[in-house]
Symmetry: C2
Subunit: 267 residues, 2 copies
């Protein structure tokens, strides 16, 4: 059973219902010690106000969502801003969703090169800002339009090539199916910068927005938590549920209550 | 450009519209030299009548779809019947979709063991019947309910463990995203028993039934064909499009016409 002292709310779990200010207050009200904001909510609130509010609330920032998207225009500039925001927030990492194919292209190798090149270009700024970049391998079903980084092994190869300051964010939703996952988690070791949980529903009715709450699907979340902790991870555990058919339609206070229960019973 | 002499119709491409007899006649009418029947259509027609009709039509059978499903009850018995049918048809292989998690279970390791055990149990019958078993790695998004065999490397590890008589069927839809695919195809070599084509649509609106016709999506099909041919594959190339929103609603003669055009322009 996961300790509540490890819990962090990824704000997309209540995307449509709450502003960032409401998310912060919700965490305080429900005794949730961590938060991981998305940049759109952060922009709406204003960085300085958000930093002050989060600090005054005594919350820890497990990550900022998200940098990446290196196959779209202006990625480097945009990522530098994201790094500055992560630094201001004192975030444990900046989560990187690296981007899919260049729109209109079928060239997967080129897209992967663009990701490596983009990361190399922003890494000096991340290092000098004290912000760790957490490469998040995304489920292969997102390869075309969100992430050409599909496996943990592939992410670690990229970490090896880039050097210090880069690690991985592992989300059970994206990695649970991987026949190499036990080996990859062991290999990742201290490079695991974030661990995200939700669940895989059967059937899955949408490739992006049909994630389940922990315990409602088929992922052996406890086994994966044991593996990342076996590799040395001691950080916060983010709950990140994207669910336009279910959880996004519920009262956010109910979502946070259930999330806490499931964190203790299914994580 | 792929030669039409390599083309095979996987009958699910016209699932709702045509019986197996109509598929056979359609192939003859359109000059398509190969066919890959599904077992439900085969059962409706009757095995002996189907064998005679296919032989009289001069068609080659690139594969029988499908064996597998080792995590469901009675799998071994059912697979022995499938082997007998593949033998009667003189099919180049029996395509194996190995099965997902045991319903109600989260134990992925156990499901994978059941697959390996089930294959080992039917392999002697396949060998003595002269039927090659083609393990088909399926896209990771099908891991829960269709196939715990998710990558070509994993399939080849299983081939290594099982010995002669087992190879792989590679479908571009399932493998295109894989960062290891070039290495795995080279490793597969003469164990490539089948090659299937269709396309990955953006967006993909269903995890099973929203495949595109070659050329309508983002897969670099030519590059993958070059890779499997570089590994020595000279067999038929099956077109397998599952599409309840588009191709299954069209006139099958139109589907076959477009399929032939696209086979030459996009494969």
């Amino acid at each position: 059973m996961a300790e509540l002292s490890r819990l962090s709310l990824n704000t997309i779990t209540v995307r449509d219902q709450w502003s960032l200010a409401q998310c912060i207050e919700g965490c305080v009200r429900h005794g949730i010690p961590g938060i991981s904001p998305w940049r759109d909510k952060l922009a709406q609130y204003g960085l300085e106000r958000a930093v002050r509010h989060i600090r005054d609330a005594g919350l820890r920032v497990s990550g900022l969502c998200r940098g990446g998207m290196f196959t779209l225009p202006n990625a480097v500039e945009e990522n530098r801003r994201a790094i500055d925001e992560a630094a201001a927030l004192g975030a444990d990492c900046l989560v990187m969703v690296v981007g899919g194919l260049v729109p209109g292209s079928k060239d997967l190798a080129r897209a992967r090169d663009m990701v490596a090149e983009g990361l190399a270009m922003i890494l000096p700024h991340a290092r000098s800002s004290g912000v760790k970049l957490a490469l998040e391998p995304l489920h292969p079903m997102t390869c075309a339009d969100r992430s050409v980084l599909s496996t943990t092994a592939q992410a670690l190869d990229l970490c090896d090539a880039l050097g210090p300051g880069v690690g991985v964010a592992l989300d059970v939703y994206h990695i649970w199916w991987d026949p190499e996952i036990a080996r990859s988690i062991a290999r990742a070791g201290s490079r695991i910068l974030g661990f995200h949980v939700c669940d895989w529903l059967v059937p899955t009715r949408d490739t992006v927005l049909d994630r389940g709450m922990m315990g409602d699907g088929v992922i052996d979340i406890r086994a994966l938590r044991a593996a990342v902790e076996g590799a040395g991870y001691r950080g916060l555990i983010e709950v990140e549920v994207m669910s336009d058919r279910d959880w996004w339609r519920r009262d956010p206070d109910e979502v946070l209550r259930v999330m806490k229960e499931r964190f203790q019973s299914a994580v």
